[in-house]
Amino acid sequence: MQLEIQGLTKRYDGVTVLDEISLEVNDVHCLVFVGPSGGGKTTLLRILAGLERPEAGHVRINGEGLAFDEARLRDHRRQVGTVFQSFNLFPHLSAVENVTLPLVKVHGVAPGVAHDAARELLERFGLGDHMEKKPGQLSGGQRQRVAIVRAVAVKPKVLLFDEPTSALDPEMTAEVLEMIGELRAEGRDLVLVTHQLAFARSVSDHAVFLANGKILDSGPAEDVFGNPGNPASRRFMERVLRFG
């Protein structure tokens, strides 16, 4: 994946959440955004997901510029897969229906074909026994894995994760992280916002440290985590890694 961000600014009610940030990464398969809460990493991911319109700036993913009008944003959303913190799934649909809905209604896949594809993916990620269950009957980790399958099923050019394990207990966190690791091993392009620094370090090849709406550190994951150049990010890493 190639990502180019220039002068990206986002404000909510006068509060600047992203302050003219610029970033360029080439040939990266897993990009992580880390940093303190409210630092702007989720907002940045949401802009990449086509869910927010910035006040200023440009974004190019794989050389393709993002246009921030609703019609073209919807088109963009169809080409990426986004997984949120929680409550991703539609509670009135079964696991397999959750996966086939975007395939059939958004991507025009024939229902039979979509069902087969969904079953194959769900089985591959150990969810074969839960296909017909409603989200309410699944554990938090299973729900999140189904949500990831839904995002993967549409063959997105990039998968975006917004703190996918924040609402889960440790055991469920492990099963979700494992799945993300598998997707990474398959060679899919991922962008990940997470507080799981140890995991982020092991899975990513490029890390970006955001605080107060600015990029304070950016580089190969080993450098950003192992040898933070910026004092703020060093303090953050030391504190979080010590207890994390």
Partner: protein, 268 residues
């Protein structure tokens, strides 16, 4: 208090609702007892006024009750369909970003909800229906009832839509559903579960409210009962069947509402 349920004496279980469920026989016994008490009260009142029953003359007019009852069912059913349509349409209009639609919807709902149905019937029938050249008073009656119930239904539908969590809309957006698709595949299927119980309740009201149409001489159940009453100089003999007839329609609906409320609960 701290006595385990199964150890508590039978009399206690008969009169108190248990924390972990009440046996069916306790419910039945107490329901029957309550019903008897209420009946006894009415019986006492009737004895006090010295009411003398005379069902003979009213029985002669029994066909009138049946016809009226059927007309009430017909009017209510027609109004039920129309008002649901009006209600859903109004709820969507009020969510519209086109301001004049939004405000028109709001004014309609507030006007209807803040004035008595009786007044609406009179104004609609003598002014609007006349101006529009609606000759058939049954059509006018159904229209008035639908407009009335539609305002309430739109509020029910609106709250059903607004109760859908923001995260659901976000998910729908993220997977690339259009706005129409989001309504169709995400909002409506979930809203219907929330909306169905209050909606059935609204239909109970609608059936009862149809009795007010007697004021514009629609020959429904209440008007016919009044006619029988006038022709036979009877009192309760005309009105008790009237009450029973409405109960026959509304009670099953009310009970069904209760069951729906229990059924449509799922964890999100």
């Amino acid at each position: 208090m701290c006595i385990p349920e199964q150890d508590s004496p039978v009399w206690r279980r008969l009169f108190h609702a248990g924390e972990s469920g009440t046996p069916w026989w306790a419910h039945t016994a107490n329901a029957v007892a309550a019903l008897l008490l209420i009946s006894a009260f009415f019986y006492y009142c009737l004895r006090q006024v010295g009411y003398e029953w005379n069902w003979g003359p009213v029985w002669v007019y029994r066909q009138k009750f049946v016809t009226g009852w059927l007309v009430t069912i017909g009017i209510s059913a027609a109004a039920l369909l129309t008002s649901t349509f009006i209600g859903v349409a109004t709820a969507l209009i009020r969510r519209s970003r086109i301001l004049i639609l939004h405000h028109a919807g709001t004014i309609y709902v507030e006007l209807i909800r803040s004035t008595p149905l009786l007044v609406q019937i009179l104004i609609f029938f003598y002014v609007i229906a006349n101006a529009a050249g609606v000759q058939n008073r049954y059509v006018a009656g159904v229209a008035i009832l639908s407009l009335f119930a539609g305002a309430y239904i739109s509020e029910i539908v609106r709250s059903g839509i607004e109760n859908i969590a923001e995260s659901q809309l976000e998910s729908a957006r993220a997977i690339g559903l259009s706005e129409a698709q989001t309504y169709r595949y995400v909002i409506f299927p979930q809203a219907i579960r929330q909306v169905l119980p209050p909606l059935t309740g609204q239909f109970v009201s609608l059936i009862k409210d149809s009795s007010l149409l007697s004021i514009i001489a629609i020959e429904e159940f209440t008007l016919n009962a009044q006619e029988v009453n006038a022709n036979t100089y009877s009192g309760l003999e005309s009105y008790l069947p009237l009450a029973a007839g409405y109960l026959l329609l509304t009670l099953p609906l009310s009970l069904w509402t209760r069951r729906l409320e229990h059924r449509f609960r799922y964890a999100t």
